[in-house]
Amino acid sequence: MNRIPCPNCGSRDLEEFFYGGDATLKRPVESEVSIDVWHEFVYLRDNPRGSHSELWYHNVGCRRWFKLQRDTLTHRIIEPASDKEQC
């Protein structure tokens, strides 16, 4: 993979980005005390071969996080980030 479509800056070189991993993970609430819940959030991953929802940070560009859908087998961007999906 060499290019990432940034919703603010357009298609840019991979070097400009920081990878944030699986975007489907939901951080448990502060009051959560179950080890199982935290264990799953911190360590376990679906790691799919195919469509993967993931976070990217454009650290030498707009400095925004965004979420996109990418195929981990072909590197095709299935769905680029929309404005709404900036976090």
């Binding site: 060499n2 290019r3 298609s11 993970l25 072909t74």
Partner: protein, 668 residues
């Protein structure tokens, strides 16, 4: 004195060279002369030098085999301006004044090489011999042998002196990248540029035109094409530039060899292209028969290049051995230029009906014998070719001996393999074509399309029309006709080929010339169970040389299929991976090396620290002071003195490197 006379194989006329500009160079210490426009290989050929190298394993004598990046033999070490390049593909290096060219992997000399004893040991050194031998007694035994093997292996000696070459990186963003400036690439480039597309046209050789370059018949066309290219502000042409990698998202890597013409020796181009056309042409395959590696044997298409581009005749008495129609033209052209072509040996049974009347007449009038349904069963010679034995083509066994012909040059043509490397690297699929006995691109995507012989279009007319249409299509324009001045005023004979993967019979038949992999080695690998093409490659080291299997892969694949009685499709092919041609680490790295490996950050107080005699340590991207040593003090003493001072009085610390924090985290 006529300088050209010193180059016995050079013709008095023709070629894309300047005979008035001689270039002096040394080959294994011997002073020779080439001319402006020569490659190192063509200069050697012009001087009648046949034996240029020794093979990797058996140290067998080898000569120049090709005229392009597929060269398996003529890999020499070249020193210029104190810079030494090992394993240089002499077919791709422009000759320069005062070059020192030396053979590698031979001791004490090229002509008498002690390592050639490996040739006699060859029954032991078969494919995979490493894995079965050198094991006793015990582990210690292998350690002992390994030391010797490591010394014997390796081709060039690169030495420990730092590389003095300069490298740099250039970025391009273009509408269209066209790889290959032959007939297809040039036609497509002109079609697109006229419509306003921003085109980057890339050619690996130093001149454009591909097979047409240097050809007197096509001179006028090429001149017009060059004018159209240079007249267009939309086309950027890069010559001596090889596209070596096709990566995801239509990112391509190219390497440009400036060869002394600039302050930079090699330049890496990283190209982001909206679309790409692969007009990469095709590579001719060798024919595999007993003694097929003797110096004096080379590809017919290469001989055509040497004739037209460099005005060189490849030998005094020439025989041509082919399984397809493309070599006939070479025979006629060589004879026209004054070379002595004795015979064409064609493995196909019925050639007569296919040949055009005028070509037949030309062969006859020029006394070129035609042997149909015949093969070269054996080539005779050691350091150079002396004779070829012509046999009947009898399918699976070697047929009756028809005659022997004394000759010093044998041109071979085993058909053409489209250069699909980049297409495949980019993820494109390949299909085996029975008609062309070659792998062809399965589908063209909108982002990357193959055209011309790279796409299995083996005729000038089809190539030019497809290239023009494609160019128009990419611009989203309605089709117009090709401008008259761009039409190539020549058509070529239709291309026919009948697969001939190896000639039966005894003797060493080399499939991979560089790594000395023979037909028997492939049979052995099949018997021992290394049948998957990936295993075959690793077990025999076939295609693992610096020619990266450009000449050997298809033949090996087909021979393995024969061994397994499977079709070529079922036997499978290996994946093409970057780089297409060997690329230096330096060029690939660009200029971000040494001190510039990563950015260096210095605090605003850096000069003050320096003035206090500080030493620095690396802390992330920053340089931070470690200690301020006074004369004679150790680091520890300085630290203790500093700590004591801080305890008793006060201290200052420069934390400007910590001032800026960047906190980043996505909202989950």
């Amino acid at each position: 004195m006529n300088k050209i006379n010193q180059q016995p194989m050079r013709l008095f006329h023709g070629g894309d060279i300047d005979r008035k500009r001689p270039i002096n160079f040394l080959f294994n210490g011997r002073a020779l002369q080439g001319v402006y426009g020569d490659t190192v290989a063509s200069a050697l050929a012009a001087n009648g030098i046949k034996l240029v190298a020794r093979s990797f394993k058996y140290h067998r004598p080898r000569g120049i085999y090709s005229a392009g990046p597929e060269e398996p033999n003529a890999l020499l070490s070249i020193t210029i301006n104190g810079r030494k390049e090992v394993n240089a593909r002499t077919t791709m290096v422009q000759l320069q004044e005062a070059m020192e060219v030396n053979s590698q992997n031979c001791f004490p000399s090229l002509a008498f090489d002690v390592g050639a004893i490996n040739n006699l040991l060859s029954p032991v050194l078969v494919a995979g011999f490493y894995y079965k031998t050198f094991m006793w007694p015990g582990l210690k035994g292998w350690f002992f042998y390994e030391k010797i093997i490591r010394k014997a292996a390796g081709m060039g000696d690169t030495g420990l002196v730092a590389d003095s070459a300069n490298y740099e990186l250039v970025h391009h963003h273009c509408d269209l990248l066209i790889v290959g400036a032959g007939l297809a690439g040039i036609t497509a480039a002109i079609a697109c540029a006229a419509k306003g597309l921003d085109v980057l046209l890339v050619e690996q050789h130093c001149v454009i035109g591909g097979r047409l370059s240097g050809h007197s018949q096509h001179q006028a066309w090429l001149t017009r094409a060059k004018q159209m290219i240079s007249g267009s502000s939309n086309i950027k042409l890069l010559t001596q530039t090889t596209a070596f990698g096709a990566y995801d998202n239509n990112v391509f890597s190219l390497v440009e060899k400036t060869q002394g013409a600039a302050l930079v020796d090699e330049r890496l181009h990283e190209v982001v292209a909206a679309q790409c056309i692969m007009a990469t042409g095709a590579i001719e395959r060798p024919l595999v028969f007993s003694g097929n590696d003797i110096p004096g044997i080379l590809l017919a298409g290469a001989a055509e290049q040497y004739l037209h581009r460099y005005a060189i005749t490849p030998g005094q008495a020439i025989v041509i051995f082919c399984n397809n129609s493309s070599a006939y033209q070479v025979a006629v052209e060589l004879q026209q230029a004054g070379a002595n072509v004795l015979a064409v040996v064609d493995s196909r049974q019925q050639v007569d009906s296919e040949l055009k009347q005028d070509l037949k007449q030309q062969l006859k009038s020029r006394d070129i014998e035609l042997h149909q349904g015949a093969v070269v069963g054996k080539a005779i010679g050691v350091k150079f070719l002396k004779q070829v034995k012509i046999h009947d083509n009898d399918g699976n066994r070697l047929g009756r001996l028809r005659l022997s012909i004394d000759c010093d040059c044998l041109l071979v043509s085993g058909g053409w393999s489209p250069t699909v490397h980049l297409h495949s690297q980019a993820g494109g699929q390949l299909d085996y074509s029975e008609q062309f006995a070659a792998l062809l691109p399965r589908e063209n995507t909108s982002a990357l399309q193959c055209v011309g012989s790279a796409n299995g279009e083996f005729s000038f007319l089809a190539t030019q029309q497809h290239a023009w249409q494609l160019g128009q299509q990419l611009c989203g324009q309605e089709s117009t006709a090709i401008p008259v001045q761009l039409i190539l005023d020549d058509t070529d004979a239709p291309y026919h080929v009948e697969a001939l993967w190896s000639v039966p019979g005894p003797g060493k038949k080399f499939v991979d010339l560089q790594h000395d992999v023979t037909v028997d080695d492939i049979a052995l690998a099949a018997r021992e169970g290394y049948q998957s093409v990936e295993h075959l490659k690793r077990y025999t080291t076939l295609g693992m040389g610096t020619d990266q299997g450009k000449l050997s892969n298809i033949n090996a694949l087909a021979l393995m299929a024969e061994q397994l009685s499977k079709s070529i499709v079922d036997t499978g092919t290996t994946k093409f991976r970057p780089p297409y041609t060997p690329v230096t680490i330096g060029a690939w790295a660009g200029n971000e090396t040494g001190k510039h490996l990563t950015p260096t950050r210095r605090s605003p107080l850096h000069p003050w620290h320096q003035a206090q005699g500080s030493n620095f340590t690396i802390s992330g991207a920053w340089l931070r002071p470690t200690d301020y040593r006074r004369q004679g003090e150790s680091k520890r003493e300085a630290a203790i003195r500093e700590a004591a001072h801080v305890r008793q009085y006060a201290g200052i610390v420069d934390v400007s490197t910590l001032v800026k924090f960047e906190l980043m985290a996505p909202m989950r």
